[in-house]
Symmetry: C2
Subunit: 340 residues, 2 copies
């Protein structure tokens, strides 16, 4: 059996958000639970209750370090789960907070993180209603891991998003990409650039509501976290049996982030984002969607970054400033462990 | 600030399910989230949606070892969360499964655990619908931690349980106590008794439905996990401003478990259970409740173990075979880290 799945131990890459993680999920987890709702693409499961649709999602956060420019593990845990509900077009209703604490964590750090969760929850307009606390002996964990799970509801008059792109659709993002990944990497490695780079971690439910109000025909929303924009769009393209072509020049990247990427020879398309959403909308709604994003404080740097075409050999390609196209696959291997 | 709360670092005891954990939750977590639903006593939060009541709960599992007589971390994660929903009188609807895996975990172990989760979910009649996978570098975790969160619904005609005991009520348990704690302790320490001791980990939703059908007047249900029967009944008594008096001779404890407890000088009332529920019912319904439990395969060893009285100095006392009473407080310190 392990022969069939091609690995007999879990590797760091299995947590990357890229190809190895998808292999693990499709070869072991989905078959184990044998449940059509457990599609790797979905950020939340959708359940029916008395005709209402409930979204349900869960994420564990293991980011290292706990504090980074622009945020901390607590803010990340609240925003990440809120965003997983929001990209399913659900209004976040309630979150849980389950702490796994390593013995010896200073209570001042825990207090700061709990306060940060409270602020982020207030910002998102969601309540933390239940929780759990476990403590690990020293050396058996790493300071703090947080699981937040969330429940959301679709408004009564809203159907789930189709979740698939069609040829002719436009691809938008609400601002500069790669900030979170770059901020954590710069902090961890103590690069001199780090003073200029800040995580984008933010709750996107307000911006997404504004977008859906303006463009209810939105086909698909996805927050490009682990694995970055490249992996998220590969997933959407594969699920849609289409090819997405991005225009490299129109993809917003802040200058210090671009410099860091050049320095390290890494592609910002693979860096994690925690306050960005990719939106696929019908081509003739692209400008309306852009306007809706730009009118929200978290979308002032929004851009139309590409288009969806009939499937043509690869899921995702990027048109370079020289007019050539490069193929951009899913993240392989592990670029930066414990980014979220 | 840390002076006020009396500790400046997190200690193992803060994960015990006993007094230290309650101090942590009341001094830091409840104030941080400032939410009346976050009462330490509740196993799930109850939310209103269109007149229906939804229960929402979350638990992380860090049990060591991953496999123990009678179960494993996967079975524990499914049953624990199902039981937290069921003791709130909710029908479990869906679970999440978030894995935090240490690099190097044999995939064969992971497969065995996922299969065990699948079986336990089938046994409980609940689906695992969403999940998450994170991988920690070697040495930053301990093989595997699992968070399961769960959503349940109260049947349309069922009100939430009062959650409080009244003088004259009877206290029941569905079978011998302390099996889970004893099984994990015996396995970890390799006591020779361990061949005879098996964890009781099981989903209790079926038994609880049978009980609620027979005794809809049930006041309060609680699964005595970390901190054991003693801590659970202390919580109920405190919330009810009553005194619970147990009859020591009527508390079922299997012989090898009793022997292990004697050997170690520990009280089975503080040992964790993972397939037991404490039920408080009006005194005149005690026999009906007992019959309902006994008619279910997980309740064949059920017993009436005590009664609720007007508050008399202490929350919980145990009447010994000699007719004397001993006071049984909440668990203080940490009896056995990582029991669940």
């Amino acid at each position: 059996m392990s022969k069939k799945r091609g690995f007999d131990k879990i590797l760091l890459a299995h947590g990357s958000g890229g190809k190895a993680m998808h292999d693990l999920i499709s070869s072991m987890i989905v078959p184990a639970f044998n449940n059509p709702r457990l599609e790797p693409l979905d950020d939340s499961a959708l359940l029916q209750l008395d005709g209402r649709i409930i979204a349900f999602t869960s994420d564990s956060y293991t980011v290292d370090p706990l504090f980074f420019p622009g945020g901390d593990i607590g803010r990340l845990a609240v925003c990440g789960t809120v965003n997983d509900l929001a990209v399913c077009a659900a209004i976040p209703l309630a979150l849980s907070c389950a702490l796994i604490i390593e013995e010896g964590l200073p209570t001042a750090d825990l207090q700061r993180i709990l306060d940060s969760m409270k602020s982020a929850a207030a910002e998102a307009g969601v309540e933390i209603v239940t929780g759990d606390t476990k403590v690990l002996p020293r050396g058996k964990g790493d300071k703090l891991f947080i699981n937040t799970s969330g429940i959301g509801v679709l408004p009564p008059d809203r159907a789930p998003l189709p979740g698939k792109a069609e040829a002719g659709d436009a691809v938008l993002v609400n601002g500069p990409i790669a900030d979170h990944g770059a901020a954590v990497m710069a902090e961890r490695e103590e690069y001199s650039l780090r003073a200029e780079i800040t995580s984008d971690v933010a709750p996107l439910n307000g911006l997404i509501e504004a977008l859906l109000a303006a463009v209810p025909e939105t086909r698909c929303l996805k927050d490009p976290t682990r694995g970055g924009v490249a992996s998220a769009l590969n997933e959407i393209a594969a699920a849609s049996k289409a090819t997405i072509v991005l225009d490299e020049e129109s993809i917003p990247v802040r200058k210090p982030v671009a410099s860091l990427c050049e320095l390290l020879g890494l592609d910002p398309l693979y860096f994690a984002n925690e306050g960005k959403v990719l939106a696929i909308v019908p081509g003739d709604k692209a400008e309306t969607a852009l306007g809706a994003m730009e009118s929200h404080p978290l979308g002032t740097g929004a851009a139309i970054i590409g288009e969806v075409k009939q499937f043509d050999r690869v899921p995702l390609a990027v048109k370079t400033p020289f007019g050539s196209h490069r193929v951009v696959g899913m993240l392989t291997g592990e670029q930066l462990p414990r980014i979220c």
